[in-house]
């Protein structure tokens, strides 16, 4: 039997990491899916070109919430360049399970929110 929710999705949905507000985020962006109503806000604290803290707030489905949780774990400590290069495929692979095509947008919504947030950073001198 295939399952939409792999163990990673279930684990991160039930025990999300970094689900909170940052006191002073350097950049933040709230992404949403206008059809299903998923909403996720990614907040990043950037210091010296690296992601010192990453956090999220979500009113979203299990896949989207798990993806946001996993994303914040993956990018904490990474350089902003490494974070911006994180691909959709890498996120889907990390989530595991058998996501149907209709749910891919849920899985990548946090990633898109993070990219938009990072795009607001001033270009390095």
């Amino acid at each position: 039997m295939t399952t939409v929710y792999g163990a990673t999705v279930l684990e991160h949905f039930r025990r999300p990491r970094n689900q909170r507000r940052l006191e002073r985020p350097t950049v933040a962006h709230e992404g949403y899916n206008p059809l299903c109503g998923d909403r996720v806000r990614v907040e990043l604290e950037i210091d010296d070109g690296a992601v010192r803290n990453a956090a999220f707030t979500a009113n979203a489905c299990a896949i989207c919430t798990a993806a946001a949780s996993l994303l914040t774990v993956q990018i904490t400590g990474a350089s902003t360049r490494e974070a911006s290069l994180l691909s959709d495929a890498a996120m889907l692979a990390a989530l595991g399970g058998e996501l149907p095509p209709a749910r891919l947008a849920c899985a990548t919504l946090p990633l898109r929110a993070m990219r938009t947030a990072l795009a607001a950073l001033p270009a390095p001198a």
Binding site: R14, E30, Y32, P34, L35, C36, G37, R39, N59
Partner: protein, 320 residues
């Protein structure tokens, strides 16, 4: 249940003067609360009621028209003593005291000004008190007090003009749209919250006081106040879980969720895992509404509206 300003505005421009009848005392029971008002227009228009229609309101029309002609105020006692009704065993045996007074709508009027001031205070979220005194055929005198403490020494007939109850609807579904219409008619102030701007639109929620689009759990938080009613009509856990985590620990008066029994139990189980106590979970009305068997959005909304009224009136609610 329009408030005083809405009632007066609906009459202004159509009537120059109206007789305003206020229920100031009732013996033997009353279907309407003290302070209930009925307006009898010089041009024949009627608005509001001091009973539930029938013989009492008919007497108010008669007395109102007389007092408009005589241009004076009077405290009138209406006894439900219709002989025919008594012989048939259909009389209710009640007696009502009504203050009936002519008020101007085409210019300044002290009674209208007093109630408008009280209504403006209540619209700001605070209760206001109107104290009315009247002797013989004199025009009534009125005092508007924003603080209950001052009422004790004021004497007279006291009306509390309470702020409208707030109904927060999470999920701008068709059931929510129908419920917003019912709730507005019941005098509630409706706040609609959704994450989807295509759903939470003015076209779908014409009567809503506020339409909020964004992160529902955050938008709802300032409205989770004592006395507020919260209905989750999204039928989607993505909004239900984050909103309920806060709502069931808040002083909000009522929390209901659109869900069948099985799904409701599933939501409770997830919230229990999140650390909510049985007492907190016990506050959730799900399935929501009175069981009247309806399936259409309007029918479901009607069952929810009926439950909200029951809660507002302090009636015990059977859990479904």
């Amino acid at each position: 249940m329009a408030d005083f300003i809405e009632q007066i505005e609906s009459l202004r421009g159509q009537e120059r003067r109206v007789a305003m009848a206020t229920l100031v005392a009732a013996r033997g029971g009353s279907p309407r609360p003290l302070g209930a008002k009925m307006f009898v227009g010089e041009g024949g228009r009627l608005l509001g009621s001091v009973s539930i229609g029938g013989c009492v309101d008919a007497r108010v029309v008669e007395e109102g028209e007389r007092l408009l002609r005589e241009n004076r105020a009077q405290r009138v006692t209406v006894t439900v003593d219709d002989v025919e009704a008594i012989e048939l065993g259909l009389n209710c045996g009640a007696e009502f005291d009504l203050l009936i007074e002519p008020v101007r709508l085409d210019g300044p009027d002290p009674a209208v000004a007093a109630y408008e001031e009280a209504t403006r205070i209540s619209r700001s979220g605070r209760a206001a008190f109107v104290v009315t005194t009247q002797e013989g055929n004199d025009a009534p005198g009125r005092l508007v007090l924003p603080d209950a403490c001052d009422v004790v020494t004021a004497g007279g007939f006291v009306e509390r003009i309470a702020p409208a109850d707030t109904l927060v609807l999470v999920g701008a579904s068709d059931v929510a749209a129908a419920l917003a219409r019912f709730a507005t008619a019941l005098g509630m102030r409706v706040v609609v919250v959704d994450g989807r701007e295509r759903y939470a639109t003015r076209a779908r929620f014409g009567s809503a006081a506020e339409l909020l689009v964004g992160m529902p759990s955050e938008l709802v938080r300032p409205h989770l106040t004592a006395g507020a009613f919260l209905v989750l009509a999204a039928h989607d856990y993505k909004y239900e879980l984050p909103v309920l985590r806060d709502a069931l620990r808040s002083p909000v008066r009522y929390v209901g969720m659109l869900a069948g029994r099985k799904r409701a139990d599933g939501v409770r189980a997830l919230l229990r895992d999140d650390g909510l106590t049985e007492a907190e979970l016990g506050r959730l009305h799900a399935p929501i509404g009175l069981d009247i068997g309806g399936r259409e959005p309007e029918e479901i909304a009607l069952s929810i509206a009926a439950q909200l009224v029951a809660v507002r009136e302090g009636k015990p609610i059977a859990r479904r």
